[in-house]
Structures are given as structure tokens and as C-alpha cells.
Assembly symmetry: C3
């Protein structure tokens, strides 16, 4: 996909502990992931074409910084500079911001976006509609414009808080949330996402019904509409999980890195232990999103518990210079059956392209080392590439 | 030991900041650890030969996963695939599971095991008898079959809880535990191990005698035989430590990574600070086992406190693809006097072989970089290889 | 600066995604940082020349170990061995301790120190006078002897505790501290440093005036002169910060790694969140010092909050073998505008030299990868080298 890391590798030269792999049919291997499509199990929509030439939008799509963070700092990152290079390369311009901006102002932006998705090898996107950039491209339009399959994920707490106004008792509210979840699949949702990490942290634990009811009453009495009470958030998640299991809905958890609205110290996925111990045995499937800088901890959880999956989205592509290292660290303990591709990209097609490119490079390096130093067979390496890039996603979300 | 990383290195070509090392006698260096024996200061016994061809047993020996974790996931790890390759190479079969399984069914398994230990360069094993795989090979038989020295480590909490039934008062119980510890050396034990991390976590602190007595009484009144009460566990360890010092018994602590019976968030060795501050000055020696993913934190503790040692067992070999990186990170701050080899292997000889092989590769890479980039002399590098592989162990356990 | 990593790089050979950089004027690039001076924003003074040949002093300047830590362990580190090599190289002696010791006993030590600072490319030092090694070289003398600009940093808690004896009420004390801070610039200080991490930890939060007054009264009544009360420390910092903002004084925080007087578990910079959320919007500038092993967490904070800067001093040079890795990890998320050079060196010139050398190597590797793999333009890489090595420091401290 990218000439830089696709040096030809002749596997016939491999002499691995006395085994010579039968690779006559693949003398000229370019990359383990070269022909493998990507299914992105966590991302967001683009902004509308009218913002095509807005480089500040591009910059802000490449960071989790607060709105008052200076764009001048964002420009001095490897990630932003690489994004400019990606754009220049695909636009056929000089590699500087003014040339790129000029070209973006006159290019057929829809075709440009489609071209980036195609070049990156995207095939399917699972869209978290809970975050919508301002002037977002409407998902139906985007889908047909890009020629890509896009499936929505239901954001749990956002949905649940919209139902609070309609119920006086916490149990009625929970019942309504359950009903919504039970119809989620028929409404097109393929999974749910919890942002409890942002609201009260990942130490998810059981809460007594009386405590929850008192918190619910207080919330309503106070005219509060945003669901931030820790007791209610925990009660909701704990109560709802049996329904998620029955419905076969995988639940994504925001963990680790994100915008500073989250307290990163409360975003360590190890804090989920009591919840995992309680529900995994009953068949719950969870995906730990992002995980950086706790990706080793997430890999540990995936390696010891059934039903735990994870990704390093957001860090890939936002930690561009460290992407391969982060991917390798994530895979130290975890089986390749538990790791998924995701970009968490939004707003700009360059983010999606970079997410894919950095991902392929990291996976290629990991698999290369697995074959050359750890004697994994090339056919297994190819199988793993497919699993990590798309088929784990297919199985996990029953697509 | 492994042709893959033993490219010939001609040190006569080194021009290190103007110094040319006198290396005429070693023109063809294969590896810093090539001739260095391994003393494994933390491991377990094998399973009996009747399970020789049980590849599921092999898989489960290469993970800390719960029993309900699918073997199909375990098979899709670098570690498992490398283990199959190790077996195939030593059995002289094709490198696939069915060939390996067939060959294991007919091989002289005892000779096969002995061959792997020999090829890996093992010389002495310190056996934690606290974990015994089902159908374990009896230690005396194993010792003579393998032709290796094997010395037992006393697991503290397991021993102590067996004494509870016999005493009404906490002080009498503590006294009995002390007596057992005082006879440990004469009974052949060369050190003790604490699993307080698994029971109540590593925040080890003093507890009042009255509090301990109340907890002791409650435990007995409730008919509880498993020692999980935090007050009792802390009281036990705190009270017993002066005896450990007097007896010159090094205490191993489970820290970091392990099976999910442990809460990894409570396994950070930094939590031991109050205990270390209290007892190190009096001559206590502690070894932090495993430590991953807190191996940098463990290296920090070893670099600032007298009497603190550590290893990265379990991650080496279970995090096979990251072993060299983990070893390098562990040694960023810590002196080479404080780092020990251990595999934490059990059940299968392939685990032991891989632990040794990954260890040698990681240490070789670390020492290579030390010599080439940091101007450590080759003779110092050789000395360090011996220290890390066996002589630190010899000194620490007074062997 | 060091022949080892300065292989000639011909950028004309770079074909980066179709762009050929115009680099005719720089055919022979030695290093991105080759001609870039270093401004060290956090370090300490040297010891007097009478200790020139004291190798134990050298060893203890290369560790954060307690005083009872054996020097024999310190000698078995990459860092110490590299320091001996640095000394040998600059003294023109054989690379062993006795030759170095002999040569240091007869060398013109002042010229030797000056030579090391010059070879390392130091230009300006910001001196934390809060830690003074025994028999410290007087700063005025050192400045003229080395021919380097040296500017002092005011250590907040140390200054504040000296004022306690003079005031009965906590508010009067706070007022006196504010007055001192308001005159800091005219007395030559260019910034302040907080060691609250060492005293009560980084969870900085607001404290009620009544609580603070009670703690203040208790401290005075108890005849306590060392300021360790958490309420008082937090009250002081929280109250003083508006004055720091008004005065335009950047505040350095000890975070992460340090001597074991600190509880590293309380030194995670993520704990500063409430303080950062409260004051950054008002214009506060903070620098997170050291940060290891929380340098990724620090990079995250720098990437999402305005006004957050950081370094990896102390780990560079003390974690010599991991220096380049630590630098790369630190820069995964953070803009190059937020990262600064510092050595935290003290006592010995070899520490300063190593800090600079390891820093240049790490930055060179980071920038090389940025250019070759992430398509950052060489001119941007050069600009970043200057920013990271000195101009970020100039801007942040208004020098």
C-alpha cells in the first residue's frame, strides 16, 4: 500500500530453526497486510465538503486537545505533518500547507475522500454516532458517497439520559433502556458503547436499588438532565448487562486516552475487574477501546479472560511516531483473536488514511518479527493479518 | 544456542570513543550468554510423562488464562506457535501441531525433557511447590530424571494457613509460623515466597495486635480455613519479617502479572514502599517476581533501595514477542546486580526452553547495545551475563 | 558530537512518498542536533574541584539511591560504566577506573569541566538551588569558571517553610510567600519549583482556609519546622498560583522518578488534573519534571492541555541504556513545542556530558524516523531540534 515499507521479502531465504517454509507461490511478498481489507470497528463521520480546505479542522481532528489549545502547537507534531504529506501526495501538490490548502479548495472533495478510503483499503465502518463533529456529513449521504458499508453503534449513557425525563422511578427508566436495547439490532445498531469512563470512571460495581432510586430522585428534583451520578451510572450498566448478553450485543468501553473531559487515572481498564468477573462467564463480550497508555494492561485482560477484546485506536493514528511500538506492546500477551483494528478517526479522510497506513505498518512489523524470530509460519501470519484487520470484527459483532 | 541471533561479531572492528578493546582472544563471539549456565530462581515442576502428547496441556502451560478460556484463542499466540516450533525442532518433525503431537506420543519423553533442559543450558532450579500442576511429576523423581539440582521455596501464606486450626490465639499462631520458618533451611528450603498480592494486595502495612486477634477469632468462628483477611495477612507478614531477616531467608513477592485471581491494580510493587522502608535497613532481601507490566517500577525500586531484587519471569516466556523489549526496559535503571533469571515455567519442558532462549536473546541484545553504544567493556559485559544468569541467584539465596 | 551515531546521511536519496526534498545545501548531514546548543532548564551545581578524583562521588551522582545503597551495585550499571568511558575519553587515558582516577587527580579539573560542557554544547543552565551537593561549587564561581550563563529557580516549599516561624496566622504566611514570589524576578529567579510530590503527593486540591489555619496552628504548636502537612501544602500551592500567573512565573513540578524519599505511586502527573483544570485557563504554565516512568502520561497531558510542558530529565542520563526509547515514548503524543531538554545533573561534569549526549542521540533518532517514515520535512526537523534543545526553554521562561 505504501512503497516505503514494502521492500520485497524473499521468504525462500528463511531458515527457521531448520524449517524451510514452502513459499514458492509467494516469492515476492510485499506486506502481510497488503491485500487485506480493513473493517474499522470504532470511528465517526466526516465533516461536510464545505470545510474541505480548512486546515485548522484537519489539525483539530488529529488531537484530543481542548478547544482552547493553540493550533500552532498542534501543527508541530509528527501526526499533523504526516497528514499534510498524505494530503499532498494524494492531491499531487508540493508538500507544504499552503499548496495543500490551495489544492483542497479546488479538488473534487468527495472523490478525494473516496480515493483515500480506497487507497487505505477500508471496507466497512462501525460508526459511533455519539460524537458528531460540527457540520457532520450525514451518515446516509456519506455511505453512498464513499461506497462503504457503515453500521451504527448505540451510545448507552447518551441514549439512557434522554429517557430520564419520562420516568419517575429508576426501575421504570431501566426497563425503558432495556426495551431500547432490545430493539437496537432491528434498528440497525450492531453494538453498544459505554462512556462511563468519562462520567464516573471504570471502577464499575453493583449499586443497591434504593441507592439508585435516591440518586434518580435527586437528579430529577435538581432538574439535572446530564447523567453524571456515579451510583446511577453504575446501577444502569450493572442492571442492563444481562440484557446485552441476551441480545448478543458486544459492549465497547471507552478506556485510556481521550479528550481531557476524562480523568485518565480513572480510565485504566484494570478497574473493570469486578464487572468482568461478574459477567464474562455469562457470555458478555466487551471491547476495550483506545487503551493507551494502558494497552499492556488491556492485553493482559484479553489474555486471561474469555470475552475481552481491545484495540489501540486513537493512539493509532494520533501517536503516529509510536504506532508500531504501541501495536507491538499491545500484542505481547494477547492472542491475535482478541485484537481489532479501529482508527477512532473523524472529520477528515486523512485521519482515516493515516490510521490504516500506520496500522498496516505496525501489524506488518509485528508479523515479520513473529515469522523471523518466533517461527510462526507464514500461513499463520497471513491468517492473523486477516483476523486482526477484519474477521475478528465480523465475528465479534455478528456481521 | 540459537543460530538466529548468533551472527558472528568481530569486536576488533569496534572503535568506541577512541578505545579499541583488546579482544584478540575472542575474534568469533557468538553471544554474550552462549556458555553461561542458567539458574532459574522461580519455577515449578513438570507434569508426568503420561501427558506427553497433550497439546492442550502445553497450551495451558503458556498462559495465565482462566480454565474457561478457549484453547482456540491460546493457539493463536506467538508464544504457542513458537512452542510448537521448539518441539518440532527437537523432535525432528514437521512444524505443525499434528506432526508434533504424533511425535510426542512415541518419543522417550524423559529423554526429550532432559534434552530441552540441556540445550537451554539449565543448571539449577528453585522450585515453588506452592503451585503444582495436576498429575505433577514428583520432585525427587524429576530431579534425578533431569539430572538437575532442584531446591524448594516455602510458600508463606499456604504454610501459615495450615497452622491456623491448631491455635486459638493469633500470637501462638504467629509463633508457630516463626518456628516453621526457623527450621526451613534445615528442611531444605532456600527461600520463602509471599502471595499476599493475590490475597489482599501489595499495600503491606502494620496492623495492631488487637485488630489481628479479632480477625483471627472471627476467621476461626466462621469456620474459614483459607487465609484471605487483609488484617491477618498484613499482621503475619509484618510480624514474621524480623525472623526472615535473622534466618537470612530472602522473600519472593508475587507482583504484577499472574492469573486473574489476582487484581493486577493491587499488584504494583510500588505499593510495598512502607514495608521496604521499614525492613530493608535491617537487612531484609526481597525479590519482586514477574513485575510486568510494572517492570520499570520494579527496576526503579531496585535502583534506589538496598536489598531489592527483581525478575521478569512469566512475561518471559509468555510475552514472547516482547521479551527483549521487556528485558531492556527492566534494566533501564536497575544495576545488573539486582536482576535475576527466572522462567516461572511449569508443566512442560518447552516452556523452560523458551524461557531460556528468549532470556538469552534479550540479554544478548541488552549487552550488545551496552558495549556498542554505551562503551561498556566486553569483559564487564561477560561478567554481567554471568551475574544475571546465575551468580546473583547464588549470592542472594546463599547457595 | 559523537562519531558513533553520526554516520553520513545523504538526504538526496530520500524518496518520500514521491517528494524529493531539496537538500543540495546539506549533502553531508551529521546529526539533526549537531550544531544546536543546549539550554538545560533543570539541573544543579557541581562539587568543588577538591573532589575531582572521588569516583564514589561520581557514582552517587549517577543514581537516586539512598545513602546506604552499596557503591558496588552502582558500579555495575551501564550509566556508571559509560561515565567512566566519557571521563577516560576526555582525559585521554585507558578506559578503566584506576586510570581515570589517577588522571582526575592530576588534571586541571576546572578546564576539564569546562571542556565537557563545551563538547556537550551547553549554553545556559537553569539551576535548582534547592538541592546542593555537599561541598558544592559556589554558583557565582562556577558560572565564571565554566563560562556559562546560570539562572536560579526558586524552590517554593523550601522558601515557604522558612517563613513559617515569623507568622501566627496562615493568611499572613501566605501573604509573605506571595511577596517573596513577587520579588523573585528582580532577585534573578526565572521560575519556581514545587516539590509537593515529595511532601504529600501530586493530588493537588483546594483546602478550606479554616482547615489550613488549624493545620498551621498545630504545626507551630508542635514545634514542627518542616512543611509536610498535606492541608498546608495544598493550601499554599492553590493560594499562591494566581500570583504565579500574574508574575508570569512558570512552575516546575517534581513528578515521577526521584530519590526514595518520594512515594512514586503519588508522583503520577495525572493526579494534577484538578489543579490543571482550575488554573491553566487563566494562563498558568507548568513543567512536569522527570516524569519517568509516567512520561507517556505526561505527554498526554501536554497534548490536551494548554500550558503543560515536560521533560524526561533524570531518566536521561540515569536510564542510559533506555534513553532513546524513553524520549521516543515521551514524544508519541506531545507536540515538539512542549518538550524541553533537562539533565537534572549535579555534582559531576560527566553527568552533564552524558545527559547531553544521550539526549542528542535520542532526538536524532526521533527526528530521523520522523523524516524517513512520517514525511516530516528536514527543515521542520531542524526547527524542532532547536525548539526542543533550547528555544522552547527561552520562550517558556521568558529569557
Amino acid at each position: 500500500m505504501n512503497g516505503l515499507w514494502q521492500e520485497k521479502k524473499s521468504f525462500t531465504a528463511y531458515q527457521l530453526m531448520g524449517h524451510t517454509w514452502d513459499l514458492e507461490e509467494r516469492v515476492d511478498i510485499m506486506s502481510w497486510t497488503d491485500k487485506v481489507p480493513l473493517w474499522d470497528h470504532h470511528c465517526h463521520v466526516l465533516v461536510q465538503p464545505k470545510h474541505a480546505a480548512d486546515l485548522e479542522r484537519l489539525g483539530r481532528a488529529l488531537t484530543e486537545a481542548r478547544g482552547d489549545y493553540p493550533i500552532s502547537d498542534i501543527r508541530q507534531t509528527v501526526t499533523y505533518q504526516e497528514a499534510i504529506s498524505v494530503a499532498a501526495s494524494h492531491l499531487g501538490t508540493e508538500c507544504d500547507e499552503s499548496s495543500v490548502q490551495l489544492a483542497l479548495g479546488s479538488v473534487d472533495y468527495e472523490a478525494y475522500c473516496r480515493g483515500l478510503f480506497l487507497a487505505a483499503g477500508y471496507e466497512k465502518l462501525l460508526i459511533d454516532t455519539g460524537y458528531q463533529p460540527p457540520d457532520a456529513w450525514e451518515i446516509g449521504d456519506l455511505k453512498s458517497a464513499m461506497g462503504l458499508d457503515m453500521l451504527p453503534i448505540l451510545r448507552l449513557e447518551t441514549m439512557a439520559e434522554q429517557l430520564i425525563a419520562r420516568f419517575d422511578h429508576v426501575e421504570d427508566w431501566i426497563m425503558a433502556v432495556k426495551n431500547t436495547v432490545q430493539t437496537a439490532r432491528t434498528e440497525g445498531y450492531v453494538g453498544v458503547k459505554s462512556i462511563i469512563a468519562y462520567r464516573s470512571g471504570l471502577f464499575v460495581h453493583p449499586v443497591e436499588k434504593e441507592t439508585a432510586q435516591a440518586a434518580y430522585r435527586a437528579m430529577k428534583a435538581g432538574g439535572i438532565t446530564r447523567l453524571t451520578d456515579a451510583d446511577l451510572l453504575n446501577y444502569l450498566l450493572w442492571s442492563l448487562t444481562p440484557t446485552l448478553i441476551t441480545e448478543g450485543l458486544t459492549v465497547q468501553f471507552h478506556t485510556g486516552y481521550g479528550d481531557p473531559d476524562t480523568d485518565l487515572a480513572k480510565g485504566n481498564p484494570l478497574l473493570l475487574r469486578e464487572y468482568l468477573e461478574r459477567y464474562l462467564s455469562e457470555g458478555l463480550h466487551v471491547v476495550l477501546l483506545h487503551t493507551y497508555p494502558f494497552h499492556r494492561e488491556a492485553g493482559y485482560l484479553a489474555s486471561v479472560y474469555p470475552g475481552v477484546y481491545f484495540d489501540v485506536s486513537l493512539a493509532v493514528p494520533l501517536a503516529a511516531s509510536g504506532a508500531s511500538r504501541v501495536i507491538s506492546e499491545a500484542l505481547e500477551l494477547a492472542p491475535t483473536t482478541r485484537f481489532l483494528f479501529a482508527s477512532d478517526a473523524h472529520s477528515r479522510p486523512e485521519s482515516f488514511f493515516m490510521g490504516a497506513q500506520l496500522w498496516r505498518r505496525g501489524i506488518d512489523q509485528f508479523l515479520d518479527k513473529a515469522v523471523k524470530e518466533h517461527h510462526v509460519s507464514p500461513s499463520t501470519a497471513y491468517k492473523w493479518a486477516s483476523m486482526i484487520c477484519w474477521s475478528n470484527c465480523k465475528a465479534l459483532y455478528s456481521l
